[in-house]
């Protein structure tokens, strides 16, 4: 949106567009919920073989080593065709964290399968008693000789029942004050004995997330990332990556297209009041693209996203919900059906999209927690 393509970039864009048109299965286009692995992973593998699954990873680790502009072009073209969201925990979270904090052995073991799409990762942070107050987490990891024994429970774990590995925050020192100083960052093989995973059905009707029970699970000591009790710092570095990734304007751009399709089908697109509100939403999407470009630019300059990423997360997620409000309005009485609505311009998922969007202001730290963080750490307001 902000960068005119250079001739080389324009050529790259056309390459991406042509390849996506030829290779992305029609059944995977424009899906509201993430398709199950049996449908989604062949697409992941196809992107991987093409060398395009990790545009933001350096070539050293099998990524595309794409420039900022190329990353943005990829995002825009994926949005344009309605490509499904890939499982992001490996590509956007543990991958970059291992590159920064992992040992050589950890990198060698875990990075190639993420690129290849042969291993799916889950993030084990939230617990029944530790949601917004994440530092109160109590899943215990006791170091006994050369392994940890893990006991406890994680919850709201996206795709845990489809995953092979989990990166988790675990309590290694129950007495530590502050509580953050007794938390470590651990990699767990989800196929280990003593692990039980139960999918949880959401209000959107899918079972995207699960609860995971650990009953004296043995985890080799070399699966510790960074130093013992230093997990909080590592997790926070990672939250910056997560918030930046989830505020990619791709999702808002897709939502905008769905609204236009629905509004043309229902006829409300002719209403000046609706037009002006859609203009306001489009302008906010433009602002999100600017915010995102700005943050990625700083990231590429070596200024990794700090607490400011909370601001991007709030703006992006609240905008996505506002867009879904417009979608519901455009669909009128059709908004209640739980099936995609057929229009002359293609099928549009309305209720499912609206319901799905409730999660975005909750996961990765609720909007309220993000505001607390910003007030203290960026605005320096007193406590």
């Amino acid at each position: 949106m902000f960068r005119r393509d250079t001739p080389a970039e324009a050529e790259f864009r056309m390459d991406v567009r042509t390849w996506l048109e030829a290779n992305l299965p029609v059944a995977l286009r424009g899906r509201t919920a993430r398709p199950p692995p049996v449908e989604l992973m062949p697409w992941y593998h196809m992107l991987s073989r093409k060398g395009w699954v990790a545009p933001h990873w350096p070539r050293l680790h099998g990524g595309m080593g794409a420039t900022l502009n190329e990353q943005i072009i990829m995002t825009e073209e994926l949005a344009r065709i309605g490509a499904p969201q890939l499982p992001a925990q490996g590509l956007n979270h543990i991958g970059p964290i291992l590159m920064e904090f992992g040992t050589d052995a950890q990198k060698a073991q875990h990075l190639p399968p993420i690129i290849a799409g042969t291993v799916i990762w889950a993030q084990g942070y939230s617990e029944p008693g530790a949601g917004s107050d994440l530092a109160s987490l109590s899943t215990r990891a006791m170091l006994e000789g050369n392994h940890f024994v893990v006991r406890g429970q994680k919850i709201w774990t996206t795709w845990a029942h489809h995953s092979d590995w989990m990166f988790a925050l675990v309590r290694t020192d129950p007495q530590a004050q502050p509580r953050q100083a007794g938390i470590s960052f651990l990699l767990l093989d989800l196929h280990s004995p003593g692990i039980r995973i139960r999918p949880i059905k959401t209000i959107a009707g899918d079972d995207e997330f699960s609860e995971v029970f650990f009953d004296d699970v043995i985890v080799p000591a070399e699966n510790l990332v960074g130093k013992l009790h230093d997990g909080w710092r590592i997790a926070n570095a990672l939250l910056g990556h997560e918030r930046l990734a989830t505020s990619n304007p791709q999702f808002a751009l897709m939502a905008l297209e769905r609204i236009k399709t629905m509004a043309r089908a229902s006829g409300i697109m002719a209403d000046p009041t609706f037009q002006e509100r859609l203009a306001a939403a489009s302008i906010d999407v433009t602002a999100l693209s600017a915010l995102f470009s700005h943050a990625v630019e700083l990231s590429n300059q070596g200024q990794s996203p700090g607490p400011e990423s909370s601001m991007i997360k709030i703006f992006g997620s609240e905008l996505l919900q506002a867009l879904n409000d417009l979608l519901i309005e455009a669909a009128g009485g059709h908004a209640l059906t739980d099936k995609p609505i057929a229009t002359d311009f293609g099928a549009v998922d309305v209720a499912a999209s609206f319901l799905q969007s409730r999660r975005v202001t909750i996961y990765g730290g609720s909007s309220e927690i993000q505001r607390n963080v910003l007030a203290r750490r960026v605005l320096n307001l007193p406590s």
Binding site: M1, F2, R3, R4, K260, R264, G267, M269, A270, P272, Q275, E276, L278, A279, A280, S282, I283, D284, T286, A287, L288, S289, A290, L291, S293, H294, A295, E297, L298, Q301, Q303, E308, M311, I314, F315, E368, R371, N372, L374, A375, R376, V378, L379, N380, L381, P382, S383
Partner: protein, 364 residues
Amino acid sequence: MDLHLTSEQTLLRDSAAKFVVAAGPKVARVFREQDPSFAPARLCQAGDLGWLGILVPCSANGLGLGLTELALVLEQAGRGLVCEPIGLAAISAAALAQGHAPHPMLERAMAGEALIVPALQENVYGDNPLAPRMRVAGENGTLRLTGRKMFVCADGADGFLVSASGRDGPTLCYVARNAPGCMLATTQTVEGRKLSTLSLKDAPADLAPSRQSLRNAVDALHNLALMAVSAELLGVMEKAQEITFDYLRIRKQFGKPIGSFQALQHQAVNLYIRTETTRSLVFQVAANNDPYRIDPALAVAVKAKASEDALFVTKACIQLHGAIGFTDEHDIGLYLKRAMLLSSLFGNAAAQRRRYVAIAGLTA
């Protein structure tokens, strides 16, 4: 978030920040009742610093810089409630410098010796700037303009860049303040600056130079005006927000600084989000557009967002101050009034959104 600037851009911003130290709320108060409502000598000083020719090519003795540099200077002007119309003068100079031969007024405009401002708006609630009702007749050399422009910042102006419809579509013309048939009806605004209705009756004019390779001169100047005012609005909201956050840290009630209360903290974050998103939008658009061919959808988007957010922020700043914020004695009200003025110039947020509907094709 920090901007990623070159060392030259950082120097420019620092020198603009130094310039506005001499401005600020105290000075802005003094000019509220004066005619003109700014210091002509300070405008010349901005000219000496090169800012009025910031977009003018080096070949025409300007600085030959881009929108990022313009925005950096105007952001500081907004922060300092600077009364001299640096932005309007700079974009008018840019318009006069287009074409193969610069306009004869260019040199004096760049020096700040002559103030030339755009006169583009004809409708109370905003209109299509590319279909002016102002008529132009005659050939170049003997052009005559007839019509009316509203909300012109004519205070202290020596001439106007007027949009008009001729045989070949919208045209940009230069009219001298003292031209026969040129009349101004001036009203005082709540902000202190005066706004005028410019009536032209067979007023002699000449064409502002335009290059065929570029966007239409009217469209180009209008989009540039939207960007310039938005950058100034950004500075206004930034400074108002800083003043307010300082107040939240020191004002005590219930035995604690009021900034420790979660309700006020969350509202403070809401202001911060508005300011940061406006800043990213202003500077991303600036970095990716040439001054004289800004993408109209982006120019309109920037002005819509800056106008709405600056009002949101400055209104909330009054509320967060409580009763003291409602007094004329406290400076925070000056920022609200400046935001009211700038958000209205060249069309308010709602007017921009209506234009965006047409530009982006958000129709049945």
